[in-house]
């Protein structure tokens, strides 16, 4: 049986790189938005916004 461990390694590396990049981008975007909201004196509460429904 050929050694397939390198393929397994690259497969899981791809998963964790994609997830790490995405989680980092979510954190970065949220921090940036909350700083902007704080500068404008906004209360960043989910209930405040979605009460527009």
């Amino acid at each position: 049986m050929p050694d397939t461990f390198p393929d397994l390694f690259w497969g899981y590396t791809a998963i964790w790189i994609i997830l790490a990049l995405y989680i980092w981008s979510l954190g970065y975007r949220l921090s940036k938005l909350e700083r902007a909201a704080k500068q404008r004196g906004l209360v960043t509460d989910e209930r405040a916004t979605t009460s527009q429904d």
Binding site: F5, L19, G27, R29, A37
Partner: protein, 231 residues
Amino acid sequence: MALPGRYFRPALAITFALVAVSLFFVFMVVPNERVMGAVQRIFYFHVAGAIACYTAFAVVLVASIIHLATQSLKSDLLSAAAGEVGFVFCTIVLITGMIWGHSAWNTWFRWEEPRLVTFLVLWLIFLSFSLLREFGDPAKVSVHASILGILGAASVPLVYLSIKLLPQSARLHPEVLEHGGLKHPAYWQGFGLSVIAMLALTGVLTWLRYRIGVVTTQLNTLATKEDSLDA
């Protein structure tokens, strides 16, 4: 960073624990597969990722229908969040599938295989969905994205059933679950844990992305009020 809601931290902790446990199980408990060897372990997160992405797209479908019917802001924000997270998992499935395919079949991608092609089309639809959300006309984007989201989610059954278009002998993509694979109990347990972990991760990421939508909407509302006062 103010995390969304007081239940978010416990949910995040549980999700990380589930992922850690499933990884431990997949690498330390599940036996090596007889034919493919170590690379078969990609199966657990490849298929679990596909289930997570289909679930996210199902959320897009329901939220988009609700938004079109009621113009609900919450459902629009949820559709955007689930669509983006689903696209990320779709990317994971595509890339892990190609790596596994290269190992198992000595080919990265085969255009004759309907499962691979329809899945690529699904990926392209949700790439378009994310780009539309980002760059579309703000006055119309929610409606346009809802329609695209419904069409994209409606293609998921096609992806699943496409494998049946070819005769058994011509199929490349395996049907492990449908044909009674995973005979060893540890295979099923590892698979179950991976699915639960990936679904939990989908939920937590969607929740975080939804929060981004909420804060963005608050800022846009404030900007609109300031503009109307200036005018």
